[in-house]
Symmetry: C2
Subunit: 264 residues, 2 copies
Amino acid sequence: MQVSRRGWLKNAGVACFGAASGGLATSLCTATTTSGMEPTPLPWPYVQLDPEAVAATAYEMHFKAGCCYAVSASIIGELKKKVGAPYTIWPTELMTYGGAGVAGIGTLCGGLNAAAMVTFLVTGSADKTKNGKASEITRDIFNWYAETSLPTYCPPQPKFETVKVVCRSNLCHVSVSKWCKASKCKISSKEREERCACLSGSVAKYTVELLNAQLAGEFKTTHKIPAEAQKCRDCHDKGSAREDARVQMDCGVCHFTKTPHPKL
Amino acid sequence: MQVSRRGWLKNAGVACFGAASGGLATSLCTATTTSGMEPTPLPWPYVQLDPEAVAATAYEMHFKAGCCYAVSASIIGELKKKVGAPYTIWPTELMTYGGAGVAGIGTLCGGLNAAAMVTFLVTGSADKTKNGKASEITRDIFNWYAETSLPTYCPPQPKFETVKVVCRSNLCHVSVSKWCKASKCKISSKEREERCACLSGSVAKYTVELLNAQLAGEFKTTHKIPAEAQKCRDCHDKGSAREDARVQMDCGVCHFTKTPHPKL
């Protein structure tokens, strides 16, 4: 449903992250400056979205321009409809760059890259002391992705039944290769494309669920790095004896998979 | 120097990627629609930039909001000055999200994430059949980063002398840990922050060099994945017997580092 800015103002439940009672006024004020060719400062206004509807859109969009485009455009597209400016000036196709782990390189999953961007867009700030919540939400999404049997979203009438896997990583090539092994399908197969479209739907859905919770003041981290990785951090992370690894990932998926850790 | 759009029009050497002779007209036409709250389609207009000047800005910006912010804001900031709209509406702080491997997670290097975004912004398109050049440039930047002794940029008066390392990876935590080992410095040290600021300068500089070359019609890939990794792809990539790994990275930095590959 297209909601005009005036109509949207009449509705309750609209707020702007990162600001208290003055948030709405601030976001509208800054949004109008877009027509004067000034950037709208973060955070951009967010409203409750329907996670299932966004997931269905992301699934469809995946076939047009890949995962990073699908996750960002499905969420921003809904905000464009419901909020209007400043989302109306967002160049939707930009995030295509992150597809297949950035230009097909197989590094960070494009869906996650988009989820992190959107999360910062609606909860982040130019003031770095105010970015704790954006980081918390992003880390929860990345940990959820690594430890959950995915996809969690599939359309009512999928093109193929998709095997679920836990990939333990935020990297595209790890995620895809684990699925290839489980499904016995190839990377260039239609089944793999369907699986990644379902994954885009899943990531978009979970991101919207967390952003809705944050808007309602109810977000709490539910996905942390595994206890085993936390143990690694006791010796390698900031404040430890070695302080030589700055990372919040499941170390064991790449390290010491076939050889033991040196004796402690 | 601030150049007005009218003044900029008078200058020679301005072009728009992704379009032939009609490119300039197209980009100006679409840029003006920004004031009407419509997104400006990609590619956005690019002009020759000074790589050294952008690197110096990125180095300084790194201390404000990290690598992903620094690399994107240094390049887009120059384009904002020299081109004006549509860059004037870009929310500069947005890319902060990618800092320290996305929200401190230690995955994809934020400088590279920003370089890929900017590359797509000025050479990409909503038409995916036209995105080959953006992917080629992005892959060159990622391969250059992995195989080059970095940083290649340091300011004339650095806060600390920085040890150079080849990290063989596009991941933040691999890059940082290899440098910690070589420098014997900790992740939370001022020396590490200086090193990453120099890295932001280096990535911004190399990205501008490639985008300048592309604008001049002279870009050619000079950094490919290592021959050893290409050998892996002969069995695992698209079109091979197994087709189970979609990736363009240096496999050997993570795989079979301590145990041999199964017999072929």
